[in-house]
């Protein structure tokens, strides 16, 4: 089934790669375009199954399925794919870019290298450069990937979701989350990139209005790391969601409202400020 009834599925050819995308573009749709970039081991469908339709009710949504080419993976190789899809599908006006996890690093890289394409930048559960806590988890991940993928499924479930989210579910629900874990092709390369990718020094040149969103209970990319994006971006505001790393899975509706509010009026919260929590 398509991610959304209005989504057209297509391919962009970038070098030797065919990069799939999902685009709700319809003739005469003059609404703002939101570009969604997923994270490690994901795809538009697995990371944005709820967020995509929520956004599609208000915006044109264009989501990219990142490909992992042979050889060593670099941030630039991923950024090039997103740029290629934008050039093919939405060249006319700057777009609102939303990146999640590794996708947040890609989004920031895009905004730094092609400022003219980016109307606004939303970075969800991203980071600047992995610290020792993150690299320790990354090492455990690789060892389990080589030795025991069943155990890796449990480990990843335990680290991906916030503890309140997991604790609020029954044993059968947890088992279903574990069973649903897959390790798609290219994931090990992406995990290697997570450990070495580095945005140090590149944020200061990003002029697009930015929103940095952290998961309060994120164990993969602790909020203290995500906050550094806020520290480095010259035109950024900061918001916290009470979730783990799996923000688009745990709190899609809250994420949607934050993104939509920001895209409607990027200056509603002035730069350098922490956003008021949404009234509940």
């Amino acid at each position: 089934m398509k991610i959304h009834p209005d989504a057209n599925e297509g391919l962009a050819h970038i070098g030797a790669l065919s990069v799939p995308f999902h685009d709700t573009l319809a003739p005469e749709d003059s609404r703002n375009t939101i570009v969604l970039i997923h994270g490690t081991g994901g795809s538009a469908k697995t990371h944005f199954r709820t967020l995509f339709p929520m956004l599609a009710a208000r915006y044109r949504v264009l989501a990219v399925d990142l490909q992992t080419p042979d050889g060593e993976l670099t941030l630039g190789a991923l950024t090039e794919q997103v740029a290629g899809v934008i050039d093919q599908q939405a060249p006319a006006r700057p777009v609102h870019v939303v990146g999640y996890s590794l996708g947040a690093l890609v989004a920031a890289d895009l905004a730094a290298s092609r400022p003219e394409s980016v109307a606004s930048l939303t970075l969800v559960a991203g980071w600047v450069r992995a610290d020792t806590q993150q690299r320790l988890r990354n090492r455990i991940w690789h060892r389990l990937f080589e030795s025991d993928q069943d155990l890796l499924r449990e480990f990843v479930t335990w680290t991906a979701y916030g503890h309140p989210f997991l604790a609020g579910r029954g044993d059968a629900d947890i088992q279903a989350l574990v069973d649903a874990r897959t390790f798609p092709e290219g994931i090990a390369e992406q995990m290697r990139l997570n450990a070495v990718a580095d945005l140090t020094g590149r944020l200061a040149g990003i002029t697009a209005p930015s929103l940095v969103i952290a998961g309060a209970h994120d164990q993969m990319v602790p909020a203290r790391q995500t906050r550094l994006l806020f520290g480095g971006l010259p035109n950024a505001r900061y918001a916290v969601i009470g979730s783990g790393h799996a923000v688009p899975h745990e709190r899609p509706a809250q994420l949607f409202q934050l993104i939509s509010g920001f895209v409607e009026d990027p200056a509603a919260t002035p730069a350098d400020e922490v956003q008021e929590p949404i009234f509940v």
Binding site: M1, K2, P5, R49, P53, G168, A253, V280
Partner: protein, 509 residues
């Protein structure tokens, strides 16, 4: 404010605000006014007690189906909720404590059913008639509920039923159901709570179902003493829990937007639940809904389906032709002799009785303005009805989140409107007809493509008179607050006496 010896406020001097109703809506409005402390107000209630929905619906098994830490006022968290979904008595006790602790009891007049409310233009006052006397106020806020007028099914001979007949919201405690033959008409939110309880004592139970609901598991559990202790000592933990509940309900909104992947995943949860709990294929078939998930209220119960596996519980899906004596005759030729019929058939939600009792400018009844279906600007103000604001009226229902959240957004709006009016020094605010129509066009537009209009079911969400979604808000709950809580004077008109003594309408700014 003066009080009469009988304890209720004097009826001869006008007050700033009259609130009608003492459910979540009326109590919330009263609490905000009392906390602000700037205005005189009274609260009129037709019953002898506060509580609204939660006073009337005391049937066995009654409980909320939005978690209690969310289904309560944001400004009055309650660390004592015993369970995730508190039973009716606890919710009623909570509302009583709100009335008491917010100092609202002394402003209430009980037994005061509003039979007429007339806008007196010359005096710029609402004149309100009740059996307890006449009251006058500059501002009228109705919070009379949208699920407060019980609706009985239209069945030939039902009123001559020789056994006992009552509606679930008017439960007859005099009747002991032990060993009785009981018919339950309906299979909605109330029936699924009533059935398991009635089946525990009745000799025989027959459920007359018109259309099978989607039922999902109800993850109810008791809070531990440790949890309640923590809630008392660190209220912010309750707030975190509330947010978790709110956003997880909001997520369900996406299923209502007609996104096939999400709708089918959500429907599957309900169908799996049915399969796990019912083995009999014929029974499964009868209990399987025939419309799109979410078109009618999605229900939560973990003990409804299993009740049907008991030998003394029967499910009739053929429809009722008529009632004769103590027998209910089915369209398929079958008949059931019954001692008691309980109508779990819901409420009058689209044609609100209060609309026939409110008369605006030039004596126009609200029911006339709403003859083709109700509508209001920002869900609360109506052209032709100055200084009237309606809580839980048109487009305030939610299929997926807490009604209290909605009422609080409206209360914030009303507080801001009244404050604006008084600071501007104008006697009355009246929304323009154009602004009201434009707002409704926007709501209509948002409703397009939602499951309520396109899910192939008939429900009380849609007004059959105009095919519009008039009871439900078609967007997420947070969007309701974003759109309807901030007050903007722009669309309002006010009047001032001109030299000829006639009134002219002019934009407030």
């Amino acid at each position: 404010m003066e009080s009469t010896p009988m304890g209720h406020p004097a009826s001869d001097s006008p007050v700033d605000v009259i609130i009608v109703g003492t459910g979540f809506g009326g109590l919330g409005m009263g609490a905000k006014l009392a906390r602000e402390g700037k205005r005189s107000f009274i609260i009129l209630e037709r019953d002898e007690e506060v509580g609204g929905t939660w006073r009337d619906n005391h049937y066995p098994g009654a409980a909320c189906d939005v978690p209690s830490h969310l289904y309560s006022f944001s400004f009055r968290p309650n660390p004592e909720w015993s369970r995730m979904f508190a039973p009716q008595q606890e919710i009623l006790d909570y509302l009583r404590s709100v009335a008491r602790d917010e100092n609202l009891l002394e402003r209430m007049v009980f037994g005061a059913e509003v039979t007429g409310a007339l806008w007196d233009e010359a005096a710029a006052l609402w004149k309100v008639t009740t059996p307890k006397g006449e009251f006058a106020a500059r501002t009228l806020v109705t919070a009379v509920g949208h699920l407060s007028e019980p609706k009985l099914p239209v069945i030939d001979g039902l009123s001559d039923f020789s056994g006992h007949l009552f509606h679930s919201a008017q439960w007859n405690d005099e009747i002991d159901l032990t060993g009785k033959r009981v018919g339950i008409v309906g299979s909605g939110a109330t029936a699924i709570q009533v059935l398991p309880e009635v089946a525990k004592v009745a000799g025989e139970v027959v459920v007359f179902q018109r259309s099978a609901p989607y039922v999902t598991p109800r993850p109810d559990r008791a809070y531990t003493e440790e949890e309640k202790g923590l809630f008392r000592k660190m209220p912010e933990v309750m707030q975190e829990l509330r947010e978790e509940m709110f956003w997880s309900n909001e997520e369900r909104y996406a299923q209502r937007r007609g996104t096939p992947t999400l709708v089918s995943a959500a429907a599957q949860v309900a169908l799996d639940h049915l399969h796990r709990q019912i083995e009999d294929t014929e029974l499964r078939r009868k209990l399987t809904p025939d419309y799109t998930f979410g078109c009618k209220r999605v229900l939560k119960s973990s003990d409804y389906y299993p009740t049907f596996t008991q030998d003394h519980v029967h499910l009739e899906t053929g429809g009722i032709t008529r009632v004769e004596g103590n027998r209910v005759l089915g369209r398929d030729g079958g008949s059931h002799e019954l001692d008691v019929i309980i109508a779990c058939t819901g409420f009058e939600a689209t044609d609100l009785p209060i609309a026939y009792r409110i008369f605006g400018r030039d004596g126009q009844p609200l029911s006339e303005r709403w003859a083709n279906g109700m509508q209001a600007y920002a869900t609360t103000a109506v052209h032709g009805f100055p200084n009237l604001w309606i809580i839980n009226g048109p487009n305030t229902g939610l299929g997926h989140n807490s009604a209290v959240y909605i009422a609080e957004a409206q209360i914030d709006y009303i507080m801001a409107a009244v404050n604006f009016r008084d600071e501007a020094g104008v006697p009355a605010l009246e929304v323009s007809g154009e602004a009201e129509d434009a707002f409704m066009d926007r709501v209509d537009h948002l409703a397009q493509g939602t499951v309520w209009l396109e899910g192939g079911c008939s429900s009380w969400y849609v007004d059959h008179r105009n095919g519009r979604l008039t009871t439900l808000w078609p967007e997420p709950a947070y969007t309701f607050r974003q759109v309807n809580a901030p007050f903007d004077p722009e669309p309002y008109l006010t009047w001032s006496p001109d030299e000829a003594g006639e009134h002219i309408l002019a934009g407030v700014r």
